[in-house]
Symmetry: C2
Subunit: 334 residues, 2 copies
Amino acid sequence: MTTIDDVARAAGVSVSTVSYALSGKRPISASTRERIEAAVRELDYRPHAGARALASARTNVLALMAPLRVDVNVGVIMQFVTGVVTQAQTYHHDVLLLTQDDHAGVERVAAGSMVDAVIMMDVEADDPRLPILRRQRQPAVLIGLPRDTAGFSCVDLDFESAARSAVDHLLRLGHRSIALVGSPQAVLDRHTTYAARMVRGFTEEAARAGVAAVFEPCESSHSGAVAAVDRVLTRLPGVTGIVVHNEVALPAVLATLRERGRSVPDDISVVAVCPTDVAVGQPQQLTSVDIPATAIGGVAVDMAMARLDGTQLAETRLISPVLTARATTGPAPA
Amino acid sequence: MTTIDDVARAAGVSVSTVSYALSGKRPISASTRERIEAAVRELDYRPHAGARALASARTNVLALMAPLRVDVNVGVIMQFVTGVVTQAQTYHHDVLLLTQDDHAGVERVAAGSMVDAVIMMDVEADDPRLPILRRQRQPAVLIGLPRDTAGFSCVDLDFESAARSAVDHLLRLGHRSIALVGSPQAVLDRHTTYAARMVRGFTEEAARAGVAAVFEPCESSHSGAVAAVDRVLTRLPGVTGIVVHNEVALPAVLATLRERGRSVPDDISVVAVCPTDVAVGQPQQLTSVDIPATAIGGVAVDMAMARLDGTQLAETRLISPVLTARATTGPAPA
DNA sequence: CTATGGTGTCGAAGCGCTTCGACGACCGAG
DNA sequence: CTCGGTCGTCGAAGCGCTTCGACACCATAG
């Protein structure tokens, strides 16, 4: 292994000069810098991460706690992860991947000074990991919105507002009888707040407009989707507009509607709440409210970095939803 | 931060004694050990990862290079990742997530001594990352099979054999006219070898049995699946058995067959090559050859660890396929 | 009773890097 | 000219941990 000593010797300067030349934290003459850079290239020098972490109390690594269960919307998770990793790169940070249920993970990694900050996905209302996270000295960013955000930076899509805009879109098209096919019961039971926020936005907006509205949770499987659609059709036979907030069940929901003799969008309009690429990847291009997962992941990193260099305090940021009308919504049938 | 010094002082022993008590690398009397453990608990001591890495040349971190593109079989990737992370935990290792196309990533992370080993997914025949990987001192494990495996441990499903067993299953049911709907052309062009190995196994086995066989690549989208099925139906109108090696297109392939008036399995039998959970998550339970992604990820970690403690040389391990008959295959129509 | 060999513990030397304080050299201002 | 101030560089002190060699102690064998 070539060390900073080797570089210093090769360039004929002291170790500290090399360090300063490389970090730019003190002025170094052009000629010296060039000699050092040449030596670095020549010797293919790469600083030892551990030594650097020890001396500088910075690791250039971020912890990302992601739900690696396969049952839920894998694609969306992947997009968050991609957003985080990609944005981290621009800050010269790497990403340490922790699994959701490895509670000791955060502690190990943060208390052991392996990371500069922690980003946590899929936060529940009273997430048991939050107290642990709070007592670490590294800043933490949550993707999601717990009951008590004190001390944390939070970022998420404004799901309440997403629900409202989906409902408004249907209202403007004249629909007076609408339904929400949402997350699996397990997700609601876990008090993952995006699911609840979605339901609240949907219910409130429908109530405000005085239209008939039902909500049905939906398991993420073919049979779950069939069951959910049938429950909706039973409870609200005259339904003409459906908001679907469940990427996995989406295709099955559409298929089931067709099977039950309802044509989309002639009999029933469908608005999905999902990443754009899944909305346009279906046989029918779906009207959808985008979940900008990659972008949110990126923002999470930005917030973590801002906290790190002290330019910003903890804050909560809710991203405004954007609805794009495509082929699955139309005027309510007469 | 509490350091090993604090613990030593609290327990009334020297720093080295604490280190040995914690690592178990030298015998320590029961009474001393207990005092030390008490102090550790009391002070909530957590060793500094960087310091440890510096002193011991071990980081307890693994690099995992995964294709975070969203276009391909996200679910499968996730399963590999899960397998790796989970198994790494049993060896007290964490996982640093690198993206496929960050070529500099391996070098940065390995040359900078951030990781003890590297695991690389989605390897191409002449992968440009391999030379870089070869010149690092850390062992590397590939999930996949490049042309030249020298110096690497490799693990993958035996796709050739998987294709054979899918074909054999169809042959035994009397099918004499079969097709393979496979990976997207882009994957083949990239020379990702699993795709090619699959095609080879399929083609050879069909030829050996003297049955009519066609192969069609298939884009991972609804329209891609429709097109691929139609191409198959055109080239081989009498086809009665189809092997599908494309998780994403799977539902659309089945839907298209139905739309073209072919009933499964009465007119056409379908064998999928995919993880079991996607095979049973479809409206119809699919006969499938399992891709044991989680297990393979775990094996990759095992191999990396075995290399690390020198108990094993580099080797290639191909996992034998297991076919499970379910609802989508039946006797060839008369 | 001495030689022998475990056991259990300690001190000190690094591991490779950052950073602080110091110090010449050189500049322009007075 | 001299004085203060930059600029560019250096030496040394850690950062927190592991590990090597040394050594004291005790039990057993000769």
